[in-house]
């Protein structure tokens, strides 16, 4: 069984403050982290391996990351969590890549690795949150897909997954190979073992593949989407007062929460 987990490195949102009133984003601390969705994907892959009886033989979990040189750190973390190998897909030509170009880079790398039984990604990343990479990869690789997966287990004839569907959950059984995107809440990631963290940096190698090695030319890397502008929601007023009878105030609160999409 071979599982490939494409991961993403993002700017840590905890180091970012958005000032709606100043219409600016302040980066207080520029720190890059392994995306929470990617961590959940790694966790899901590791759990499948651990649940399998024949985990000792013939299991391989590979992590891939398309990013800048610093994404090496994200892959070392994936190795420390328990991956068997990691590959960094890095080239100056990748820097303008949008989602579709990133899908092409990852597809080329997965094909170079001669495919997988399972590809697992996060449902969406913590920064852009577009949630496109999974289904785009599935299509490009000709695989079936199950998105927003909350539990996954290998069964006779494939993989059984429980996914969120509208307001509820539904179960599907997929033949392999299949691509899963997982819900971060359902797979809280483990902490890497200290010894593995040491090994990840000292012993293991993370090969770097560039555009030439992946056989990607300029046309394949051309972005389809173009950035137009950034804008900010109006600042929220502070200290707006609500008075009256409890039922009326309760309705005021719920109306505000509905407007913010916190409750339906």
């Amino acid at each position: 069984m071979r599982i490939i987990v494409p991961v993403k490195q993002i700017l840590d949102p905890r180091g970012i403050t958005v000032r709606r009133d100043k219409e600016r984003i302040f980066v207080n601390q520029e720190e890059y982290i392994l995306d929470p969705g990617s961590k959940a994907a790694l966790e899901a892959a590791l759990r499948l391996k651990e649940a399998a009886l024949d985990a000792a033989g013939g299991w391989e979990i590979l992590a891939l990351c398309a990013g800048k040189a610093q994404a090496d750190d994200a892959l070392r973390e994936a190795l420390a969590m328990g991956c068997d190998a990691a590959y960094l897909l890095c080239d100056k030509a990748f820097e303008d890549a949008d989602i579709s170009a990133t899908a092409r880079i990852l597809t080329a790398a997965i094909q170079k690795l001669e495919g997988a039984d399972l590809v697992i990604t996060g449902r969406e990343s913590g920064d852009t949150g577009a949630g496109q990479i999974g289904p785009r990869l599935a299509e490009a690789l000709g695989m079936a897909q199950v998105t927003d997966v909350h539990t996954a287990s290998l069964v006779e004839g494939g993989l059984r997954a429980v996914r969120r569907w509208a307001d509820g959950f539904c179960a599907v059984v997929a033949q392999l190979p299949v691509l899963l995107t997982v819900a971060p809440v359902a797979f809280p990631p483990r902490y890497p073992l200290g010894a593995r963290v040491m090994s990840a940096y000292r012993e293991w190698q993370v090969p770097v593949w560039d555009a030439a090695e992946l056989g990607l030319d300029e046309a394949a890397l051309a972005p389809l989407l173009s950035f137009r502008r950034e804008s900010f929601p109006p600042p929220l007023d502070i200290g707006e007062r609500f008075e009256g009878d409890p039922a009326g105030m309760a309705e005021d609160i719920l109306a505000a929460l509905r407007a913010q999409k916190t409750v339906r």
Partner: protein, 348 residues
Amino acid sequence: MDFSFLDEELEESSAPLQQIGSGYRNIWVVAEAAGHALVPASLEAMGQARDLADQIGCYVFAVLLGDDLEALGEELAGYGAERVLLAEDPALAEYQAETWAHVLAGLVNEMRPEIVLMPATSLGNDLAPRLAQKLGTGLISHCVALEVDMTERLLLGTYGVLGGEVFHTLTCPEARPQMATLQPGAFRKPRAGGVRGEIQKVDVDLEGVGARLVREGAVPAVDLPPVPLSKARIVVSAGRGMQDSAGFAMVTRLAEALGGVVAGSRGALDAGWIDEEQVIGAGGLSVAPDLYIACGVSGDVYHYFGVQGAKFIVAINSDPVAPIMKVAHMAVVGDARQVIPAMLEAMA
């Protein structure tokens, strides 16, 4: 002066402009039904498609996939579409990303819509990126606003990043069709009436594609691991103003109803309602949830230190001059022991 060089320039620059988007017309909405009813988010997409179509001067097509769709098609025809396309086949009765994307890609390649919209529901989020990849075009996901740049006839899609604190606007300048998914609830639902569309059944070609998923159907909710307080999106906290354990129980119920996590002030710790690790404020935990509801918490500066990262603060307190009331976005002057039950009742 010789301006002949301008002619050359113009010729060069205008040639690709004519090619881009030429032959692509009309706006499609891929509508979704659950059982025998159209999903509300599909109707919102219909309303938005109508507005855009009136602006750029084209028709709205609604597309439905499934089996035995006539009744749904009739209903959809009343929501501002000039035409409703029905792709009917027993093999489409159940949603499968691969078969649906295959059929839709065939229709798009044949009829060449300029814009394809879908609601960002479970189905839309599963299908739209796959279809975009198949068509080799761009997709703008989870849009909360759509507009058209008339100079280039470009669809501009705006969506929230960083938890909705910032908006990004993207376009798809060259590839066609332009695709977007629409965040449910972000667009108004149209009133039925107005244009009455005609219904057209289209041929379904399912050659070379089959379902590779077997649906077992609905299952009970998955037990999710508890969210740690530091990562909770919604935090409901109790303070001394809740008076007794019965009051604290109301706070717990409110947190459950909202899908949030319970916390408290140092006062709640002293009263024995919460543990040390649930205390918010300086010396305790700092949180940055999307929503923080302080119930009967006076909120001195030490407490505020722990919640200043919250995006939206609601304070419920009978003391109108409590410090928390000056920093909250909503300062609700009232007894939390009366307001919370009223909220729970209204949500039930």
